[in-house]
Symmetry: C2
Subunit: 403 residues, 2 copies
Amino acid sequence: MAGTPKANAVVGQSGGPTGVINASLVGVIEEVCKHNEIENLYGAINAVQGIIREDFVDLKKLSIEVIEGVASCPSSALGSSRDKPDKKYCGRILEVFKKRNVRYFFYIGGNDSANTAHIINLMAAEVGYEMRAFHIPKTIDNDLLVTDHCPGFGTAAKFVASALMGDDLDNRALPGIKIDCVMGRNAGFLAAAAVLGKQRDDDGPHLVYVPERPISMDKFLGDVDGIYKKLGRCVIVVSEGICDVDGKTWTEKITKENEKDAHGNIQLSGTGALADFLSGQIRGKLGAKRVRADTFGYLQRSFVGFQSSIDVDEARRCGREAVKFSMKEQSGSVAMERIGEGEDYAVKLICTELRNVAEKTKSMPDEFINADGNGVTEAFINYAMPLTGELQRTYFLGNYPRV
Amino acid sequence: MAGTPKANAVVGQSGGPTGVINASLVGVIEEVCKHNEIENLYGAINAVQGIIREDFVDLKKLSIEVIEGVASCPSSALGSSRDKPDKKYCGRILEVFKKRNVRYFFYIGGNDSANTAHIINLMAAEVGYEMRAFHIPKTIDNDLLVTDHCPGFGTAAKFVASALMGDDLDNRALPGIKIDCVMGRNAGFLAAAAVLGKQRDDDGPHLVYVPERPISMDKFLGDVDGIYKKLGRCVIVVSEGICDVDGKTWTEKITKENEKDAHGNIQLSGTGALADFLSGQIRGKLGAKRVRADTFGYLQRSFVGFQSSIDVDEARRCGREAVKFSMKEQSGSVAMERIGEGEDYAVKLICTELRNVAEKTKSMPDEFINADGNGVTEAFINYAMPLTGELQRTYFLGNYPRV
């Protein structure tokens, strides 16, 4: 950067952790080391909180052993924060950047993080402070705009698909009705990924409900009853954000006022309430004997030792590419563009404007959800299948010929 | 067997599935193929139910590809059953055995399955029907007598330990109080296994509660408060079967009468009620802001693609050994005897009498639980560590020096 040949950079990780957000961090670190323009790379502890506290780790000094170890670990190695900085907060960030001669800011996170980078970029321009701000996408919900899919989704999808493969085998062994509640407040991609391990016609999950399609209790119970009568068992996946036909989430309907937080928000994750409510409805109204419900919770985003290799590679590429883009662009958000399908699956990394990603979210497109609103389409499977890496083949001998 | 050179064999899988019960099945199949004494090997679909229905798969005809695929899959490939046959039921089983010239019975399961094999063995002797009955151990609870540990436990322990490694990293990234509820009605081995991935002094889980040590709500809240004040976060693991000081399980205390089953039993698994109750208590009485609860549910026993290699090997050996024992003994249960510790860890397989295993269960020995009743000892770690296979190393950069 003209006039500041030895500027510094800050990288942070924001919002909910994922299985590969650390791979993106490592991508940033390794690429920064290739560019003499950047002297120090400060890792901000707990995201923006660490910036205003000036709580930084020197990331260029880490050993390659630690770097590769970090890349293979889930969760945010720098810690995270759910703060959504306003202009005043961003002003404080900018003060620290000036003090420490930080001219490059890389922020790994969702749409709120893109917005933080966007505000800081605009403010720096306003006050004539020359710096560059880049957003690197991550979510398990897969709900960011522009990018074909988000780093973090593939690993979470692999976890959910593998869980359902096992759960369906378990449900074959001891038949009954099983409900699995999957993360996803507004977007159903992760719940939909539960189908990716299906290998036989009668494999579960047999029903998948996503937030994009409101569902009445009558329709839900009717669907379950139909499958249960046909197969003698039924495996159901629901997004935590599924809604009734009046648009209210089921969780909102069953949550007592005193269980809301200070902002009146309802906690969707970290509780088994929705799954337990649905299993109670099935037990009470369908009279089914063996009804079980599991809520996958935080395991979906932070399970150790179960990354999707393609997701790790892409997350790391996104981190590296953000640094490369910062050498020629003023600001932007890294996005993946799909340039090949099926066995030729490949992505190209592009740089989109921060405002295209900031504060907005994406839902499942209509063509990914079946007409009945209780399952996914081939189009979704073709879209999502390359992202999990190879899934194990499963076997059940109860389908084999008898003697 | 004298007089019946071409007898047949039946194998079945009973009770709750595990991650390696299929490896034991495959061990039986491959060993049976080496013994000319056995002509057909019938796989009973849904355990004893399949025997009385004569619902059998010819296991010697399966391709090696299927056999190895089955060995790598969780859950019970033949299906399962929770029937606990009495003498009358066992009489019907014996009728089928006579009709099909079944002279060898291999039953993979827990203490109830050992009891079924025991009853059938006694009845066959009574009526002078020459046959041999063997039990092959499996449980994720690790609660069978005689054997050092149970096939199935190591894989479930690897899952729980890996889940906690990830969950602790997640809790470091976004600090708060996290409760994880782990399977285990009477024995706390699996909850205790949550500590096996701990690598730093302040790694969670910080508190582990097992059914063997009653815990009052006051003591529980005091423990949590202490850790939370010290570390600013707290990760807690509870067995689903934890009890209050009056001996009643916490789940029993919070379950409404109408949620019990026909036998008055309370459903512990497949519901998030206990974890949600405990998180409600913490939120209400400690005033902590971020409190989350997960119940691991059926993922612990039937997750695809995450077996412990040592557990798979041992489960398969137990299956093979049962067949070998059947060539020289009348009946028995296969058990593992530990003959080496630490890096020299090894087991020897022995044959114990069925009545030594039937209908009884084992709890965590006192020396595995800490004096305060809220954690485990080094003795437990030395016992359990070899069973999971190697666990991944984890990294958190928030512990690194600041610049």
